[in-house]
């Protein structure tokens, strides 16, 4: 079993716990993130999953892609399913009925099941302090049901429920700032990662899983189908996201201390990132130019805010 992935060649060989046979779209970043999680965990691991692309493409009876204990209940409760397993582990360990090594507990959910419908369950788990890591596979859309908006969808994106049209530029609202919301629960570790920056991701996921208590990772997960780019462009699009600071990479320690973990040498304009995806195509019409500006301003403001928080250490 591979515990520390030192180079990409090793990464490509390290999929023993997540079999090659799954039904995710070619180029889907979900699979890349999952493999990374499985790579960094040392020892026994239990996974929970909410309904979404991952669930329907990895556990289609009578097959399963998972070589680790895995449970899916519904769309909203992947977090609580894992909390239940973790509670049972504590009960059985206390009674001497489980004598093995202490397992790690990880729950996956899409942004729909994390930012929206499952938010209450995650909040409850974090308030109760279960020893688990919640990982959001953030593709900014309900992909499994055909591309509807979520509260993670950025302003201006055309989705199947907020389609751009003659009188609409797409989604009207900004993306929910889930990192700070989760940090406000007092979580010891909250971080944002992107699979193209895989060493940073590897380190943060490891830290999250090894930190005791409820920890949260928001993983940017580029979706070829709903973001509308070619399936061989996942890493390129992800690079644009990170280098334009649309997805800044940072972590929050003990609910307050912000640390930026990656500063692009050359910050690229947000429009380069947006222009690489079909979902923002309409923003480049003259009448929508102001949304592009708004988007860039939002990104600048947030970057400024993150830097100030980092400096202030509070």
């Amino acid at each position: 079993m591979v515990n520390e992935v030192k180079n990409l060649k090793q990464f490509s060989k390290s999929a023993e716990k997540f079999e090659g046979a799954h039904l995710l779209c070619p180029g889907c970043a979900h699979g890349m993130i999952i493999r990374e999680v499985l790579n960094v965990v040392d020892g026994p691991l239990v996974l929970g999953n909410s309904t979404g692309c991952v669930e329907v493409s990895t556990a289609v009876y009578p097959y399963t892609s998972w070589d680790v204990p895995w449970i899916h209940i519904g769309f909203e409760n992947g977090s609580t399913a894992v909390a239940g397993v973790e509670a049972m582990y504590r009960a059985l360990a206390k009674k001497g009925k489980y004598n093995g090594q202490r397992p790690k507990f990880v729950a996956f959910g899409g942004d729909g099941s994390t930012y929206d419908i499952g938010f209450q369950w995650i909040s409850g788990c974090f308030e109760r302090g279960h020893d688990m890591t919640y990982i959001c596979l953030d593709n900014e859309v309900y992909a499994n049901t055909g591309g509807q908006r979520s509260s993670s969808t950025p302003i201006g994106a055309s989705t199947s429920t907020t389609p751009a049209g003659k009188v609409s530029y797409g989604k009207k609202e900004r993306k929910k700032d889930i990192l700070f919301v989760m940090a406000a629960h007092g979580s010891p570790y909250v971080a944002q990662v992107a699979p193209n920056k895989w060493k940073d991701m590897n380190k943060k996921i490891k830290q999250a899983i090894e930190t005791e208590g409820p920890t949260f990772i928001n993983a940017m997960s580029a979706c070829t189908t709903e973001w509308k780019f070619d399936s061989n462009q996942t890493v390129e699009v992800s690079d644009l996201a990170v280098d334009s600071l649309v997805f800044p990479l940072f972590e929050i320690i003990n609910g307050v201390e912000v640390r930026i973990t990656y500063r692009p040498k050359n910050i690229i304009p947000v429009r380069d990132y947006l222009g690489a995806q079909g979902r923002f195509k309409h923003l480049f019409k003259p009448e929508n130019e102001y949304i592009l500006e708004q988007f860039q301003k939002n990104v600048n403001d947030r970057w400024e805010y993150l830097q100030r928080r980092e400096e202030a250490k509070v």
């Binding site: 026994p44 239990v46 929970g48 669930e55 329907v56 556990a59 289609v60 009876y61 009578p62 399963t64 998972w66 070589d67 680790v68 204990p69 895995w70 449970i71 899916h72 209940i73 519904g74 909203e76 409760n77 609580t80 399913a81 894992v82 909390a83 239940g84 397993v85 973790e86 509670a87 049972m88 582990y89 504590r90 009960a91 059985l92 206390k94 009674k95 009925k97 489980y98 093995g100 397992p103 209450q120 369950w121 909040s123 409850g124 308030e127 109760r128």
Partner: protein
């Protein structure tokens, strides 16, 4: 095992306290729960058992009933004994997960303290919530008083955890009339109770890392039907295991339970069929109307799911008139119980059927009095003598305003 509690031969317990003690004696590994009237005291009592060291498991105080059942599913899949309690709106919020629990064949025990469903909001007892979850693939047991709430909770673990069953189980008790009404209860000692239930042996637990299990897969048209049919089939045949547990409990306690139970039916011509605390009221009424020359009896079932169609049909077919008492109102239909009891008569090879009538009563815990019950027996008697319905098929008891009836 932690502290043993010294219990007296007779304890004065209400239905909630009786259920709490049974859960304590079962030494459950994980309880994930959320409060709601009238089941709240079950959770509270359990909390005090935890605080005083009588429980060694984990008590997870979640943020909603949906989370309670989600936590129970995760915990049960992990491989230990699991239970919870709820009522009404809480049960409604849980329903999605009930299906998921039975689909995964996890032997969770749920105390459902029956209560009306809003709107209008009503905290009192009727059976509306029970029917809400009846098709979710759980075994449903019915109790009439605190003693039975205790006994059935002990038996529920045996039934749910039976390797030939492995189906989650609900123990129903009437809100307030049972849950908040104290009576003499004869508990078993902690050791005897625990020995009756036995240790839990899980199958394919998530915490077995040598054999990783996948729980909650997706199955479309190529497999979904088979999964559902298998659950149905096991449920329909679980009556054998259930009766076996009833019999063993009788050997231990001399308290006899049967899937279908009759009171004074040997020579009866007219019977009331009811569930829950109404059964006891109907027994009193039956005794009284016998003095008026009406050959009256009472029939109830202890197992609402799987519904004992054949057993019940065999018993009911020889009466002349039967009143089916529904403590809920499926809007736009005959009583839910009425439909199922009527169907049971078509499971027996006999052309002779009693005259059936349907009484809707007790919604939001509107009183059902002895006067009402006597009147029902008199109407049944009239039906029996005329050998046909002399009153509308569906009637409402104690409803003010315009007379409502159906047919």
């Amino acid at each position: 095992m932690p502290n043993v509690m010294e219990l007296q031969e007779v304890e004065v317990w209400d239905g909630n306290m009786a259920a709490s003690h049974a859960l304590r004696q079962a030494q459950i590994d994980v309880v994930a729960a959320y409060p709601i009237t009238p089941s709240t005291p079950i959770v509270q009592n359990y909390g005090s058992f935890v605080s005083n060291g009588y429980i060694d498991g984990e008590f997870v105080l979640v943020e909603s009933e949906h989370a309670a059942m989600s936590g129970c599913v995760g915990a049960a899949a992990a491989g230990g004994r699991v239970a919870t309690a709820t009522s009404s709106q809480g049960f409604a919020l849980m329903i999605e997960v009930l299906y998921q629990a039975s689909g995964m064949r996890l032997p969770i025990v749920l105390n459902l303290v029956n209560r009306a469903l809003a709107s209008p909001l009503n905290i009192h007892g009727d059976h509306s919530d029970m029917y809400l979850g009846r098709d979710a693939g759980w075994i449903n047991l019915n109790t009439c008083n605190p003693q039975e709430a205790y006994d059935f909770n002990l038996m529920a673990f045996r039934i749910a955890e039976d390797m030939a069953v492995r189906i989650p189980t609900i123990v129903n008790q009437d809100g307030f009339l049972c849950s908040h009404t104290a009576q003499n209860v004869r508990p078993l000692s902690d050791e005897v109770a625990y020995n009756f239930i036995g240790d839990y042996q899980s199958k394919n637990p998530l915490l077995d890392f040598d054999k990783p299990a996948t729980y909650g897969a997706q199955a479309e048209e190529d497999w979904h039907f088979e999964h559902k049919a298998q659950l149905h089939n096991t449920l329909m045949h679980s009556d054998i295991a259930i009766q076996k547990v009833f019999d063993e409990f009788f050997d231990l306690t001399a308290r006899r339970y049967n899937i279908v139970e009759t009171y004074d039916t040997k020579d009866a011509e007219v019977v009331i069929f009811a569930l829950g605390t109404t059964v006891e009221s109907a027994r009193v009424a039956a005794k009284n109307v016998r003095e008026l020359g009406i050959k009256a009896g009472v029939v109830t079932i202890r197992v609402f799911r799987p519904f004992p169609y054949v057993k019940l049909g065999e018993i009911l077919k020889d009466f002349k008139a039967v009143a089916i008492m529904d403590k809920s109102l499926p809007a736009g239909a005959m009583g839910a119980l009425f439909n199922e009891v009527a169907a049971s008569l078509y499971q027996v090879q006999d052309s002779k059927h009693p005259v059936l009538s349907n009484y809707i009563y007790g919604l939001g815990e509107r009183d059902l009095t002895q006067v009402d019950l006597v009147k029902i027996y008199q109407e049944l008697d009239a039906n029996a003598k005329a050998a046909k319905l002399t009153h509308p098929t569906q009637q409402f008891i104690g409803l003010r305003g315009p007379k409502l009836s159906f047919c």
